[in-house]
Amino acid sequence: MRKKHPVILLACICLVSLAIRLYFAFSTPYFSDDTSYFHLRQIDHIKETGLPLFNDPLSFSGRVFLFPPLFHYFFAALTYFGSVWHVTKIFPNLLATALVIIMYLLVEQLTKNKQIAIFTACIAAFIPLYFVETVNAINPRVLSIPLSFLFLYFFQNLQKERGNTPCLILMIILILLDPTTLLLLLGLVAYLFLMKINKLEPKKEEKEFIFFAVILALWFYLLVYKTALLKHGIDILWQNIPPTLIDKYYYNITIISAIYLIGLVPLLFGLVVAYYALSAKTEGVEESHPFHEQQRKAIFPIIGVLLAVTILLWFKVIELTIGLMYVAILLVVLSGFGYMVLQQYLERTKIRRWSNSIFILVFLIFIGSSVIPSVYYSIERIKGTITPKEVVFLRFLPEIAEEDAIILSLVDDGHYVEYFSNRKTVADTNFLQIKDAKQRLKDINTIFTTQSKISATRIMNKYQARYVYISPTAKKLYGIDYLNYEDNDCFQLLYVGEVRLYKSTCE
């Protein structure tokens, strides 16, 4: 491959990926998940006041948020270069596409083979889950995931002079950005264990750096989440999300859908590499062997993180989406290495002249199992986005509901109500620090399912809520078109259309 070819190819992959991403992102004026609107409110607030909205009067009718605000400051700063809408639509996709370049660098460093690095970059551009979750959403993860892998790239160079400073800067940014950095750190600790059980000696700098980073992260998060830790204890791992909701996230996923979300090629190649790297012998292995000591040392940080995330996912300790996203990207890195091993193996066999055909076959499988699902899931995700009619209604809601009125809606609609209508809600999806999270979720379910007007009134009065908002999502979830107990006595119907709005009038 000529010197310039990889760069051109890489640029092409990035451009294609970005073009598809932007096509989907701009196919709707809204974001595809409710939490994006929480982040948007934070960005807007920083723009207006210079400070994040820690004391939010709307969410859960008034509560305190705990989060590291670096991501929101970063985006608030970016909005000086364009409108909030453009910035929040374009930049997350730009950042997500940057992962392609990082993967190229990382795999090139591991395999010393540009062709394989390009192939892996191509796979990285279309990891279905990562693609879908970042295509039309604004979330700290669009920044933290690429930076985590950039960190892993520099981590390989830790011993060298130029490796230390970027590693340090990246780690500090990551810690300030998103608590999911703890996954990376846990993975690095797992890497040290892997080295130990395989009788390999990690670099002294690596041990020192990991120790420093773990202490720094623990200290910082203890400080930020102090009150939540004391309130929820270990439940903070699930962000105080009620168990019924956690179970819902996990039960919705099957092995087959997980394979689709990760992609078949990275899954197969990645798992084979992980297996061989863990089971290979340390002594008496030639340097030309793909799993000789140096090579294993280089891929062990990746396997360490993979192992840690998989274990945490297995025990349902982390959020499914973030866990699977990490697993998918890590498997892509390993699959690059796996493809190199396959190529080396084919060179030594009689079918080496078919290696190009095998490459084409793998590429076709990749298109079938990664590119097509990426596009398919993106279309589905865009379809599930809040509709213009809903938004028009929510923007009109302040005309109906008084300024301090509390709206009871589905938890998934909470952030929409807060952002578009600027009205207080009974609950949204951010449960951290909420004492009666389980009860609120149960009560909201009761409102949508009960036959009893008295129970419903009691719940409405309990939260001093005056309005019930039924979105299309709520209708679909509960299989209802209207409240079972609707009458003009205690629950007045104020609006009928794609959505419904009721006013509770009984004390």
Partner: protein, 479 residues
């Protein structure tokens, strides 16, 4: 000359250590003196205060005098000490002062004992600072609890045991006092005696004390029923029980544990840790998890010793990334300070506050001496001490079957929809006053202001609101 300077420096350091400990243990009491009218935190404090006062006035009771339930009173020598000191200085002052004094005494004895593990002065000093600043020590030595007394007894007992002068006989006073508490404390003392006595070649004394403690222990096992509850505990639950940073009441500092693990790894690399020490550590861990979290106190001392070792090794070691070394050590120290400060901050504002106590003292002056009060069981001890009246059910009562039955009846009263249901039960126990605390109406008992008994209290003539402030509402019951 140089030796003299060193000696002077040592004295200054030790003085500083005690002043540091004094300041640490006094933070919560000083804050409560200033902001909470000197009322100590924690309901257990009030239980001991009430019994101590009762013993001085009426002698040792046969049954718990605070409740109508037939709960057998278990004699606790700590309450006599508390009562005697309380007689001299006033019970409220003693409740604030005595834990601090016990803490200082314990620190003194532990510092002296640590010479066995750390012959080097600096190491010993650091280990003692880690112990004093640990969340458990800050918790137990800022409230009136018998665990503070037990730790003091054990530390003092060991200190005396290791001496060769007349003071050694005092160990015969300190150790047997443990018989009045959970037998596992005696068991731990015996194991530690065996370990220390054997190493220090004090075998004659060891045999003598062992035989006394052994006989005592057999007697306790013979006379008391020991229940060890074994439950399967997950890794995450284990963290919840052990870590103060996750809200454990008697938990350790996360950073202390990390440093302890480092210290342990250095010791095992140098093969300086023996199977006896590992066994002892495991025994303490199991006791903490399966018996009671108060045993974490012993574990905490072990962890602090290891943490001091770990910290010194980290500080001594050459790092390749030298800049990170200093930051890491600084962060570790900050982390240990952080755990201590959050513990202190948490306890400083704990229940009860001055306004609550003002309401309860009003009830003491306004109610009949034999009046019976009803409130949620968790407020029982505080109400009993402040009002000097009997409470229908307190936390002690929940441990017996009758108490659990009574709790169900109280629940019925609290959630009654009809006056008759509530009045029948109230009349059965001749309840004179009902005390509604702020937290009870904020989710602890009721979620709404007009739920169950709250509605009945407001609308029925049998109940009269006799006192109200921001924290408590007191209702008089008429039959």
């Amino acid at each position: 000359m140089q030796q003299e300077t060193k000696k002077k420096q040592k004295i200054i350091c030790i003085t500083m250590l005690f002043l540091f400990s004094l300041v640490l243990f006094s933070i919560v009491p000083s804050f409560r003196l200033k902001e909470y009218a000197g009322w100590p935190y924690g309901s257990e404090s009030y239980y001991h205060m009430r019994i101590a006062e009762y013993i001085l006035k009426e002698g040792i009771p046969e049954k718990d005098p605070n409740t109508i339930l037939p709960i057998r009173y278990a004699f606790d020598p700590f309450q006599i000490v508390l009562g005697l000191v309380g007689k001299a200085f006033g019970m409220k002052n003693t409740a604030i002062m005595l834990p601090v004094l016990l803490g200082l005494g314990t620190i003194f004895f532990l510092y002296a004992l640590l010479a066995i593990v750390f012959p080097i002065f600096k190491q010993r000093l650091l280990a003692t600072i880690f112990i004093a600043a640990s969340p458990i020590f800050l918790t137990i030595f800022s409230q009136v609890s018998n665990i503070a007394w037990i730790i003091f007894l054990i530390a003092a007992g060991f200190w005396c045991f290791l001496r060769d002068d007349k003071l050694q006989w005092l160990s015969l006073l300190f150790f047997p006092l443990l018989f009045f508490y959970d037998p596992f404390h005696t068991m731990i003392a015996m194991l530690l005696l065996l370990y220390v006595g054997w190493e220090q070649k004090k075998r004659k004394k060891l045999y003598f004390l062992w035989s006394i403690l052994g006989m005592g222990l057999l007697w306790i096992i013979w006379t008391k029923k020991i229940v060890v509850s074994i439950k399967i505990i997950g890794f995450l639950e284990l963290l919840q029980v052990l870590l103060a940073d996750l809200g454990a009441v008697l938990g350790m500092s996360l950073f202390g544990i990390i440093l302890g693990a480092i210290g342990l790894s250095y010791l095992s690399q140098e093969r300086k840790i023996t199977w006896k020490e590992c066994g002892l550590f495991l025994f303490l861990l199991l006791l903490t998890l399966f018996r009671s979290n108060e045993f974490a106190v012993y574990l905490n001392i072990g962890v602090a010793i290891l943490a001091a070792r770990g910290f010194l090794e980290l500080a001594k070691k050459e790092w390749k990334l030298q800049d990170l070394r200093k930051i890491t050590l600084f962060l570790l120290l900050l982390g240990i300070v952080y755990s201590g400060t959050t513990t202190v901050a948490r306890h400083a504002i704990e229940f009860p506050d001055a306004e609550t106590m003002q309401a309860l003292q009003w009830l003491e002056t306004e109610s009949d001496e034999n009046a019976t009060l009803l409130t949620a069981p968790e407020y029982g001890f505080v109400v009993e001490q402040a009002t000097k009246r009997m409470v229908l059910l307190d936390e002690n009562g929940l441990a017996i079957e009758e108490g659990q039955r009574l709790q169900k009846q109280i629940e019925t009263v609290f959630h009654a929809r009809q006056k008759e249901t509530a009045l029948d039960i109230l009349e059965q126990y001749q309840v004179d006053y009902i005390l509604i605390f702020e937290e009870m109406t904020a989710g602890k008992v009721w979620n709404k202001k007009d739920e169950g008994l709250l509605f009945i209290l407001e609308h029925e003539k049998n109940f009269k609101r006799v006192f109200e402030n921001n924290k408590v509402i007191i209702w008089r019951v008429r039959y």
